[in-house]
Symmetry: C3
Subunit: 283 residues, 3 copies
């Protein structure tokens, strides 16, 4: 967050398409790296509000239009204030965790389709959505934050242990390495990994199927599942606070600065093999 | 529940066999489809009471005598009142959820052996029992209810997310598709899937093994495991209430009626490939 | 606990090596069977205290120097009082459960490397540590206790259902059988099983990697993960109390005595194929 750049012209980085009144698609489209900045957060927030308000939509699929990147880490060339100065959402949480907990509780079924890197925010969207299917060959999930001295802010400490167990959650969060499709499936980090050629057809068929069911029954089932083991917002908020505390520490600032000097935040090998380069950073 | 049929003569649809004083078998035997009606519920309730009261029994195995069907959905040709007018059980819950929560807490180890379809009630018995082993080739698990606009009533919204994680639980419950042995094992929906030829021998050896252990130690271990993450009865009751609310809604009544017209509730392709036909119903 | 032997000369059964100031190794080295007695408990307690107090250590790996045995069951030739008379630890729990809950909460990442048998205490250390990697060919995990009429004392009833789900936890705890690497991985009992030739390199690389990260971020992430689903100490204490109640019952004393007569507690086939012989004991 030490570097600055001029504010970008407003652009649509998160595109919403209503395939049918009951089946929507949300596409992350911010080339070349699908980095998540404050503009995309504002756009996501508006989409969540639309999903909450619409009486007909039953299914939303999240995917990416950017080759190699489903959804990436935050924008470290922008000012931290660009994100923290956004107004808190209806849950009282700051914008990004607010979006994630509202997505989880929204009266609509959310399915994440992961092709390319789901790093940081990308993994957090997958964990906050209702189901997640990954490309066996092309998906990479990663909670990379500890590698630069950060604590992840979008809820993975709360969600991962409930989803995949404490031991594997700690490996994902403290190893900070790239998790490919096969391992993500074995761990239950995603519902399933499918051959890349089958992935789009599978997700589209499932979304179309669910969109043909009765919305009231869908909502009641989801609500009762969430009674079983959803983390409380306070737990998500504690994770976000730990992220904010971590990002201003010199240990993190120095690692981020060094990492940017090595190629982080630019198209190339560091972004493509993030896990490998994180392992070199602190030696 | 719009259709009626004359009350059947009393028959034994759920057979209890005491292989030894410590090892019992319970066999669902209501051909041709192993549909669960009020008679079977009464018989199951009596068996649970016997399991609770017997001081020697340590293990009970649930299996089926009906080719292709472990235990199927409820009887939609009977009157709903046949089930809802049964007296509530000792837990205060209505008969079917009462049976399931008592099975889970019974001072005996329950093992479900799934060959053929475990649809609705069949899946709910598997989830309420202590362990479940499935035929790799012949087991099909299914929480099919949302496909006809129903909410499942026997606890899967409470049990599945604790067992297999939120994402896979929502896929099972909202996809309403047929889950075969391999996928059920990958998801942890069952303990393991075994080659069909090995299944009976495996389960019998495990049941015999456990029956050779000390009952007091068995009970204490089970009781302490259940301290960790058993859903409260209130949560199971909320699921049952949501089921009762869903079944009287026109959306469900119309889908059930149409589905019966297409072959549901009769031996044939709709019952055999239920997941496929559910996907056609709402289009 | 009926048999006695003279107190052994003090020996180092649990060796601590500081590979670097940030990366420590703890090696169980009590040949021929790596049985855990009161001396090893005292040594483990001192190591946990050192891990808690050291400001630099970030990672600790637990492994074994004994061929065929990672860490084994308790010493049944010693007096029970040797263990129960140890002073309770800072948590208020008796020494062994105190060690385990302190390990889980310690401000350091613990990784268990399992080669050979992890029986009883060995499995409990694996479950209490933060991550666990096993030899595909040579690891055997086992909660064997019910086979001799005991309830396990070191927390597996609390930890296993949260880690691998209720059904698989009950199978492990009530089947009391040997669980090999492949099945342990499928069940999520361990993070992963690796080919034996790759295991040491994999664990060393992961430990070195984590040791290169920022300690404060590591601790905050672990603390937040533990907010999600760590069992309360009271639950661990209840398991220990159930163990103490079980070991004085005649049913357990007789089985243990018979088992010792058959070769338990001596190098040989009973110790090597413990699961098999437990299945013969009560017939």
């Amino acid at each position: 967050m030490k570097h600055q750049k001029p504010p970008a012209a407003e652009s649509t980085q998160v595109r919403l398409a209503r395939r049918t009144p009951t089946y929507w698609r949300v596409t992350f489209d911010h080339p070349p790296l699908n980095i998540l900045g404050s503009e995309a957060i504002v756009q996501m927030s508006e989409i969540i509000t639309a999903l909450e308000a619409d009486e007909r939509v039953k299914v939303v699929v999240f995917d990416s239009a950017v080759e190699g990147f489903f959804l990436n880490h935050s924008d470290f060339l922008a000012r931290l204030e660009d994100v923290t100065s956004l107004p808190p959402g209806p849950t009282g949480l700051q914008a990004w965790p607010d979006i994630l907990v509202r997505l989880t509780r929204a009266p609509v079924v959310s399915i994440t389709l992961i092709r390319g890197r789901a790093t940081g925010n990308g993994s957090e969207i997958a964990l906050a959505s209702d189901m997640c299917f990954a490309s066996r060959e092309k998906a990479i999930l990663s909670q990379w934050e500890v590698g630069v001295g950060l604590v992840p802010g979008g809820g993975p400490m709360a969600r991962l242990p409930r989803l995949i167990g404490r031991g594997r959650a700690l490996e994902v969060l403290l190893g900070a390495d790239d998790i490919r499709g096969d391992l993500a499936e074995l761990y239950g980090y995603v519902n399933r990994s499918l051959p890349d050629a089958d992935l789009d057809g599978f997700v589209d068929a499932l979304a179309t199927r669910i969109a043909s069911f009765d919305k009231r029954a869908i909502i009641d089932i989801k609500r009762l599942v969430d009674a079983a083991n959803l983390p409380h917002d306070v737990e998500i908020g504690a994770g976000w606070d730990a992220f904010l505390a971590s990002i201003v520490r010199p240990a993190a600032q120095e690692r981020i600065k060094t990492f940017i000097q090595r190629g982080f935040h630019k198209p190339g090998d560091v972004e493509n093999r993030l896990g490998h380069y994180l392992g070199q950073l602190g030696r």
